[in-house]
């Protein structure tokens, strides 16, 4: 349910795994939310050509596990699947898919939003933006899984 690697993402498979296609889960979930992060053709006024994602994969997986545990304690009814892609991604391709399933829609939406905010905060993954005229590493959050202020900000975004 949690993975990182160069293979193209298959959102439908994750949806199937978390919803009624799985016999033992059939009837438990009432809502499945899928989030796809896609490569845009523009960023900060630049015309983007493609992105390259790099990861420290074993720690990225552990970060996903931590996020899944956080979600389990905050939204006990939610099940989540999360795959992140690495390597070169062209415009329009998906870099991340997050699927959350729950008995009710509010928890599935909130947990999905929480998951992407936390990935951006603590997963050791980097993107290099190749744009018209150059390339640049995008550097976002200082990764600190124990930063409770950051975690609460993700929770506020999820519950807004």
């Amino acid at each position: 349910m949690l993975a990182i690697g160069p293979a193209p993402l298959a959102a439908e498979r994750l949806v199937a795994a978390l919803s009624a296609d799985e016999p033992e889960r059939r009837g438990i979930e009432g809502a499945v939310v899928t989030f796809l992060g896609l490569v845009r053709n523009h960023n900060a006024g630049r015309r983007v050509l493609y992105l390259e994602y790099e990861a420290y994969e074993p720690l990225a997986l552990k970060s996903f596990e931590r996020i899944a545990e956080e979600i389990h304690s905050r939204w006990p009814s939610v099940h989540m699947a999360l795959h992140h892609r690495t390597g070169r991604l062209d415009i329009g391709e998906a870099s991340i898919v997050i699927v959350t399933a729950s008995a009710h829609r509010a928890d599935a939406f909130a947990a999905g939003r929480y998951a992407i905010e936390r990935v951006k905060q603590i997963a050791p993954i980097w993107k290099r933006e190749h744009f018209e005229g150059g390339e640049v590493w995008i550097e976002g959050a200082i990764a600190d899984p124990d930063d409770e202020m950051a975690r609460m900000a993700a929770e506020r975004a999820a519950c807004a």
Binding site: L38, P58, K120, P124, W126, W137, E139, I142, D144
Partner: protein, 83 residues
């Protein structure tokens, strides 16, 4: 003691390598290893206040004492997911 250093993204480019083998004295910490690296590659120093670190693929603090064979990773600010 021998340790392996893993560097990612811009840090990897500055050092010109994704992986380095280094010898450290007993009692060395993640922080002292980082300072050694900034002496080799002055450009790394700009990340002094923004790097995270991991030992054997678990997040670790800069005061963590190193052991023989440890894999120490230095991580610039992250940007996974989408924009």
């Amino acid at each position: 003691m021998r340790v392996t250093v893993r560097l990612f993204a811009r840090l990897r480019e500055i050092a010109g390598a994704a992986e380095l083998a280094r010898s450290v004295e007993p009692g060395a910490t993640v922080g002292s290893l980082w300072r050694d690296l900034t002496k080799e590659h002055a450009e790394l120093a700009q990340y002094e206040r923004s790097i995270s670190s991991a030992v054997n693929a678990d997040y670790a603090r800069m005061d963590r004492t190193l052991a023989e064979g440890d894999e120490v990773a230095f991580l610039p600010p992250v940007s996974g997911g989408c924009w």
